[in-house]
Amino acid sequence: MRYLRAFGRFWWSFVVGDDWLVAAAVAAAIGLTALLTHEGVNAWWLLPAAVVVALADSLRRESRRS
């Protein structure tokens, strides 16, 4: 069980890293893109825009902490 937890923790920090909100924003934006595409909207612009917002927000929070 201990090894499983350590394994899970390793992959979490490997993929998600310091700011889980960025990863959550990416997942939400991809989900929304899939939804819009399914409805017939070619939402190619959504993911880059969401990335910029998530990145800027994460940097703003980090710089306030410093």
């Binding site: 991809i30 893109t33 899939a34 990335v51 990145l55």
Partner: protein, 252 residues
Amino acid sequence: MSTSIALIALGAFLASAVEMVEALTIVLGVGVVRGWRSTLIGAGSALVVLAVLVAALGPALRYVPIGSLRLVVGALLLAFGLQWLRKAILRASGFKAVRDESEAFREEREQAAVAGRELRAGLDWYSFTVAFKGVLLEGLEVVFIVIAFGSAQRHVAVAATGAAIAFVVVVIAGVLAKGPLSRVPENTIKFAVGLLLTSFGCFWGAEGAGVDWPGDELSLLGAVGFFVVVSLALVRLLRRRRLVLVAARAEA
């Protein structure tokens, strides 16, 4: 050679180079102090594990439908790439310390000098495990990038070749320099890798979600350019913010 293949090779080369520079510092730090046999066996064993991972996972992913693969790989690359980009921006703007290979080398040597000597299977266990773990952990990121880059475009061999060339270049440079490669502009390379990972992640993630990119593969170049401009603007903003913070602290 298409745009995406060239960028895949470049991304794998740069990511591998920067991770191998860090692994080289660990291996050199241990090897110089405690001897080379166990250290090199440890580093070599880790390289074998990494090569087996690429050889096993690369072909296995061929059987996953390309749409689903791009969706998953795109999301993972995006989350992973944004970590690299975020840290590179924080370093470039002074909010995070830049890694110093000479300092890391000094610390590695100090730890190696005070560690006890335990023999297992005829090996100096400290040298073996530190070199093995160092190369494996730094290399896992490269394996992830090689497999993700390669599988989403069905070009694992291209990505693996880019990574292998970087490995050879770093080892030769390390042997010639006889020390850590402290003059390699690590943050600039990490910045470039973060940009490529984020751009590919965005491109494949959206494509996997069903999007048709205007201009098809050319959009990838557009995405790289877009994220370069955004990232440089964010560095500028944060540098200004930092100057204001430093001035305010000096006044207080």
